[in-house]
């Protein structure tokens, strides 16, 4: 037989020898991490990779502060085992940056949504996922998509307004 070691296979094998148990793609970058597969994605992001945009609020998928995207779909990273992640993870850091805001982030700044801001990474990720799937959401659509994200400061009126602004911008209005 012809022996071939494709670069990708070789690379993965070398990482395996280094002891990684989980391969994770976050914001376009590949990471090889040696953690228990049952560790929640949130804590891999925060404590292992130093990606702290996703926040810890409840640990049981009740508050939404930890919301990230897996292949564009909003998920609660506190309740997803890292070993079960298939697909690319996007955090708030990968959505946009201060110098290059995503339309949702721009709308959040324009409406000055945040008070303490601790829930807003999750709110923004939930809104971005909603608009990816439904570019012209009704009030009911917005309520349905956003009600799993708790805001203790009570910024809901501004969140609603910002989602609508982002939707109209993304639709070219």
């Amino acid at each position: 037989m012809q022996v071939t070691f494709p670069a990708q296979a070789l690379y993965l094998w070398e990482r395996r020898l280094e002891g990684y148990t989980v391969k994770l793609t976050v914001n376009g970058a590949e990471h090889f991490i040696d953690v228990e597969p049952e560790m929640p994605l949130l804590w891999v992001l925060r404590d292992e990779l130093g990606i702290t945009g996703p926040k810890y609020g409840c640990g049981i998928a009740q508050c939404g502060a930890c919301t990230v995207h897996i292949d564009g779909m909003a998920v609660r990273s506190c309740s997803v085992e890292v070993g079960a992640v298939e697909g690319e993870v996007t955090t708030i850091e990968g959505l946009g940056t201060p110098d290059s805001l995503h339309a949702v982030q721009a709308a959040w700044v324009e409406h000055q949504v945040a008070q303490c801001g601790y829930c807003q990474s999750g709110q923004i990720m939930a809104a971005a996922s909603l608009l990816e799937m439904n570019s012209d959401p009704t009030d009911e659509d917005i309520d349905a998509a956003m009600s799993a994200n708790l805001c203790r400061c009570g910024t809901y009126p501004r969140i609603r307004a910002a989602v609508k602004t982002a939707a109209s911008r993304m639709n070219g209005a």
Partner: protein, 745 residues
């Protein structure tokens, strides 16, 4: 310049004539100059102009000593300084500074005196000055009581003006151009020929000359920033996940810790068995801490897992173990001597007659539950302690950490962190204390302690549970008599006494806060406060005593007005004795088009509360649907004298309404076996997006005093909602949370 000098004296020496006129106690300490905390670690060539402004080679830093827990304190403090300093908000850095007695909070102290906020008489003013003196002596750098703007409005603008004029004087010295020919703009002194000298280039000169302290503050018509919408300094960072909260702090070599504390809150740890936890992956150390066990690991989740695997033998409950016992304690307190009787107008006993209207109202314990669980990082190395934590009481934390670490307070360096909410929880510092205990075991290594959500809920210091018993009488279509007795545990005794070790003699005005000082002219009007004991430890919760008391007062007042056959708004306006408050009530009536036909199954309610000197009136409109009550609209009118940033102001008011409504709808903390039963947000939900009404806000600016807005929108929300539900359904709600009695959509 006499008048201007007076402004300066008032701002920096506090209390002005009232102090000179009536206060001997603490007068010397008053005069004693306060050490400037910025001089300690100032680099060569940098000039500390005042404790609020730092100019060095890197630029201008505004020191914002009041903590930011989401209310926009940094931004609003920066704006007040920048207004006079002539810098733009995107030219500066904001630094919460270091704990210092120079940052005493005089506005908060003024709230602690037994005079109504509407009382500007000589006695009341003098007393406020006294308390300010005491608080300054004690060096209480506290963020609370909605006092940031009230406290800073003069101080911070003067700080900015002093800095500006001193920089101009430095520029004059440097260039030989007369000060009168210089102006300032955009962080620079502008010479007559248009040449600009950035402030940082003047830092060295400015440090060599005496500061110019006789300064004129600008008139409102000249303001560039104050009163206009401004982009909060933290808004972009908070919209991009790039703002680091305390929980995001990361230091080289840092380890992660968790605690498991006795579920019987405050109870002891008898013994523990860590054999199962010890071998778990990443665990570095397991040690006892006060009331529990701490686990130090290499990752937060691993620390949580290992903490859960520690087997503990817990000591008994330290307060009444069951909720029924707590209600009984509150009931029994009515039979004890009053803690205070803030008001006794007319002849209540006679006026009540044979058949007064009576009602008992109840409010449950509540948790603060900011979305960021409490956390701290502590590093102890070579006799120096560094603490990174979000705190509203940095000076207390400094002292408490020092005592645990066995060092002098000066060796404890607090690095104030942005907070993911507080609602009063960050007036406590238990997380910094526990983290210091852990860091003592890990000398030289930074230890981050994160409370799990369950530990945060289970060991919060609560909003008091309380009971009000009320009697009243009506005649001639109006309210003639209101006799209100309230029973609640003392927040001051628990929070400042038990946990901060301060002597708290005398009555606790928070028990009857927003009861005795409401601007209503009811002929026979009595407010009696009783102190309940043996309750759970309690704390300041957004709006403190007003949070439950407005529900009691306004709820029963609504019942009396109904009994009198009056209109809820008209009667309140008629009873109101304060012009500012009356305008607020009239305004909310206009905004909501009070009296218009709402259609079938709908109802409206109004409530008013003066708290922290800020009058707020709210109208709530609801619909009774087959699925339950839906809250449609809320209208809010208030008057804080001067709105610094209308955008942030509206956001805070709307948030306060959501906070008040959400807790009234479905939140309570209950006690079983000496501990808090609720563990997470599925048992303590508050309001969610789909339940959020339209909230319309109007701010008047006719109040002669500058007031805060962080807390005052909370108290009227619950009674206005209860009144609206009664109007729509006929169901009278006398106990929170309301979802025990009605469903919400």
């Amino acid at each position: 310049m006499g008048r201007l000098k007076t402004i300066g004296r008032r701002a920096f020496l506090v209390g002005s004539a009232a102090v000179v006129g009536g206060v001997a106690f603490g007068f010397y300490l008053y005069k004693k100059p306060v050490e400037n905390p910025l001089l300690e670690d100032l680099a060569e060539g940098a000039a500390a102009l005042t404790p609020y402004v730092r100019v060095d080679a890197d630029g201008v830093t505004l020191i914002t000593p009041r903590a930011d827990k989401g209310q926009g304190a940094y931004s609003v403090q920066a704006a007040m300084i920048a207004e006079e300093l002539d810098v733009e908000l995107d030219q500066i850095r904001v630094d919460p500074g270091v704990p210092s007695p120079a940052y005493w909070n005089t506005a908060l102290a003024a709230e602690a005196v037994p005079f109504a906020a509407t009382d500007q008489g000589a006695m009341a003013t003098a007393a406020r000055g006294t308390v300010g003196a005491v608080m300054k002596i004690m060096g209480m750098q506290i963020t609370g009581g909605s006092s940031t703007v009230a406290d800073g409005f003069e101080k911070l603008r003067i700080a900015g003006a002093v800095a500006r004029e001193t920089l101009k004087a430095a520029a004059a010295q440097k260039t030989g151009v007369a000060v009168a020919r210089l102006r300032t703009q955009g962080g620079a002194v502008i010479l007559p020929d248009g040449r600009e000298i950035p402030y940082q280039e003047l830092a060295s000169e400015a440090s060599q000359i005496a500061p110019v302290t006789e300064v004129a503050l600008r008139q409102p018509a000249q303001w560039r920033l104050i009163g206009k919408p401004m982009l909060r300094v933290d808004m972009v960072a908070k919209s991009t996940g790039t703002l680091d909260y305390g929980i995001d702090a990361r230091l080289d070599g840092m380890v992660h810790a968790a605690v498991v504390l006795n579920p019987r809150q405050g109870g002891a740890l008898n013994s523990f068995d860590a054999s199962a936890a010890k071998g778990m992956r990443g665990v570095k150390k397991i040690v006892p801490v006060t009331g529990g066990v701490g686990v130090i690991a290499d990752n937060t989740w691993r620390a949580f897992q290992a903490a859960a695997a520690v087997e503990c033998d817990w000591g008994p409950a330290v307060f009444a173990p069951e909720m029924a016992d707590h209600w009984a304690e509150l009931e029994q307190a009515f039979d004890t001597d009053p803690d205070s009787q803030g008001r006794d107008d007319g002849d209540v006993e006679n006026a009540l007659g044979e058949t007064p209207l009576t009602a008992e109202y109840r409010a449950p314990y509540l948790a603060h539950a900011p979305l960021e669980p409490i956390n701290a990082v502590v590093l102890i190395k070579d006799g120096r302690v560094d603490v990174w934590t979000g705190t509203q009481v940095p000076r207390f934390t400094q002292n408490n950490v020092a005592a645990i670490a066995g060092v002098e307070p000066e060796q404890v360096h607090i690095h104030a962190q942005m907070m993911g909410g507080s609602f009063g929880h960050r007036l406590e510092d238990e997380v910094a204390r526990r983290c210091t205990e852990l860091a003592m075991e890990m000398q030289g290594v930074p230890v981050k302690l994160t409370f799990s959500r369950e530990q945060d809920f289970g060991h919060d210091y609560l909003r008091p549970a309380a009971i009000a018993r009320m009697r009243g009488a009506v005649a001639e279509g109006t309210v003639k008599t209101l006799d209100l007795a309230v029973s609640a545990p003392s927040v001051l005794a628990s929070q400042m006494g038990e946990r901060q070790g301060m002597a708290m003699p005398g009555p606790d005005s928070s028990i009857s806060q927003a009861l005795w000082d409401q601007p209503y002219g009811i002929e026979n009007y009595r407010v009696t406060a009783h102190r309940a004991r043996n309750m759970a430890p309690v704390s300041s919760w957004r709006s403190v005593g007003a949070s439950q008391n407005a529900f009691f007062h306004e709820g029963f007042l609504s019942e009396l007005i109904t009994a009198a056959g009056g209109d809820q708004l008209d009667q309140r306006i008629a009873l109101c004795t304060d012009d500012v408050s009356r305008r607020v009530l009239q305004t909310v009536g206009d905004m909501s088009n009070w009296g218009r036909d709402l259609g079938p199954n709908r109802g409206r309610g109004v409530a008013f509360c003066m708290s922290f000197g800020t009058p707020v009136a709210e109208v709530v409109e609801v619909t009774s649907t087959p699925e339950g009550i839906r809250i449609d609209n809320v209208f809010v009118a208030t008057d804080v004298g001067r709105v610094i940033d209308p955008v942030n102001f509206e956001n805070l008011v709307q948030g306060g309404v959501v906070f008040g409504l959400g807790h009234a709808m479905n939140c309570e903390i209950t006690i079983a076996d000496g501990g808090i039963e609720q563990t997470n947000f599925h048992e303590y939900e508050g309001m969610r997006m789909y339940q959020c009404p339209r909230i319309t806000v109007k701010a008047l600016e006719q109040n002669s005093h500058i007031r805060g807005i962080g807390e005052p929108p909370v108290p009227p929300a619950a009674p206005a909602l209860a009144s609206a539900i009664f109007d729509a359904t006929g169901v009278r709600l006398r106990e929170m949370p309301f979802n025990k009695f009605v469903d919400f959509v």
